[in-house]
């Protein structure tokens, strides 16, 4: 009984506190706009944005779906690549030495700088957007996966050896579960970043998506619509993060018990 009370209090704390801060922020914003009579095309009031979102709901929904689909595909592509790379780098010494430095070096190239190349190669379809998303997502995922695979407790490894545990048994019963918490944090970071990848993909060339909508609204100085699209993007990021957090709870339930 007491535990569930605490839990309720925690959830309330988790949600209510940020909501109050956000609410205060919006109220201040609204009030300052009114006070200084800021024109709508410079900075719309939160109430203007809300009204615009309501008006644009169908439009936003369509672009939201398009972007979300690309982002999810890109995210999965990154996940698959990260698992394979993470496994190889942490298990094969030669690959570790050959690839790890390149992996890190690759992160010094801004994705937005190479993104136009994908347009040249793959045209205006879904593929360039998926690839830019994957490029943004794969690094934190790969690094976390490598960390996970190499963070196995050596004494537990010895215990497995003492009981004659084979390679496969050791991998499925020790290495993988040891790595899961790390993979899950990588997943949460990537989930949030993935939205950026999707938007970049649309900026370099697209006729659909929230990124495209932002460019369009900006060009036409429809500032309220621009802010509306940004709001929906933020919402998408939060949604993906929550999905990743939910997956984390499902996949590593023992850590939840530890925290409570």
């Amino acid at each position: 009984m007491e535990r569930s009370d605490n839990r309720l209090a925690r959830i309330l704390g988790d949600f209510v506190a940020p909501m109050i801060v956000l609410g205060a922020f919006f109220m201040l914003w609204e009030w300052l706009c009114v006070l200084f009579k800021v024109p709508v095309f410079v900075l719309p009031k939160p109430s203007d944005i809300a009204a615009q979102i309501l008006k644009d709901r169908w439009l936003l929904w369509q672009h939201f779906q398009f972007t979300l689909k690309n982002v999810i595909f890109g995210f999965f592509l990154a996940f698959v690549v990260a698992m394979i790379l993470g496994f190889l780098v942490s298990h094969v010494r030669l690959i570790n030495r050959a690839i790890y430095p390149l992996l890190v070096a690759s992160q010094t190239i801004p994705v937005i700088a190479i993104a136009p190349v994908f347009i040249i190669w793959f045209g205006y379809g879904i593929l360039p957007k998926v690839i830019t998303t994957a490029l943004i997502c794969f690094f934190p995922l790969t690094i976390n996966t490598i960390t996970g695979f190499t963070s196995v407790d050596p004494e537990i490894k010895t215990l497995f050896r003492a009981y004659n545990g084979g390679w496969f048994q050791t991998f499925t019963k020790l290495t993988l579960p040891s790595a899961l918490p790390f993979i899950m944090s990588g997943l949460k970071i990537s989930a949030t970043l993935s939205v950026i990848g999707g938007v970049i993909g649309e900026w370099i060339g697209s006729e659909m998506g929230l990124g495209y909508l932002i460019i369009q609204a900006g060009a036409q100085i429809q500032t309220a619509r621009l802010f509306g699209a940004i709001t929906v993007l933020a919402f998408m990021g939060i949604l993906l993060f929550l999905a990743a957090s939910l997956l984390e709870r499902l996949v590593t339930p023992w850590r939840e018990a530890h925290r409570a």
Binding site: D153, E155, I156, T158, L159, F160, R161, A162, Y163, N164, G165, Q169, K173, L174, P177, L180, T252, W254, R255, A257, H258
Partner: protein
Amino acid sequence: MATDNLKIQLRNVSKAFANKGSITAAVEDVSLDVRPGEFISIVGPSGCGKSTAFNIIAGLIRPDVGDVLIDGRSVAGRQGQVGYMLQKDLLLPWRTVLQNVTLGAELLNRSRAATQREARDLMATFGLQGFENAWPSRLSGGMRQRAALMRTVLSHQDVMLLDEPFGALDAMTKSLMQEWLLEIWTRFNRTIVFITHDIDEAIFLSDRVYVMTTRPGRLKASIDVNLPRPRSSHEITTTPEFGAIKHQLLTALRDEIMKAYGSPKLQG
């Protein structure tokens, strides 16, 4: 020598480690025999090679020289022949208590159903009833060590190697665990090799205590503990017989520890 009725034999075992050009002799020419069902302890100064000897019996380290036999068969470099437990409980945080205690049997490919059944039956004996489905993070230190020991028992190996299993427990829990370990040992009829720094613990538990020298670890003394069994309580530790054995052991050990402190090799 009648080798047939010996459970464990170390025959002139030596092992040295090469480390950045320098060579550390960890164990040198150690020979010892353990009969089935015996409880023996090994004591010695820190870093003298106790765990190395232990790992040689477990097949985790191959001796440079000599041989190690279990039931008369060489097990040098062969794993999966003994039960194995360390000071750290090494419970897997992602497995429930029940899944943890069956891990050893599982890795040895023993029948899953039979192990599960036995584990459930033994939960009470190991003071873990009601915690079958709990995560290890919920257990106290003593409970964690009991779960680790249960994993060792359930692996169904005749020989159990315990390397300072109670080293991290508080005095009270430790003495309870010792009494309880003797019950387990009697009940399951296993052969136990026990490593400890605690002389009282070694005497209270064992049939025989081996003293190792400062590195390189050789056997310095083998002292029989002829105290009556069952030794169900610690009252026995106040008897003059216990005191005499302790005196013997301390004398043997003190020389070694003095040597260790007098020698610059301690840090090496």
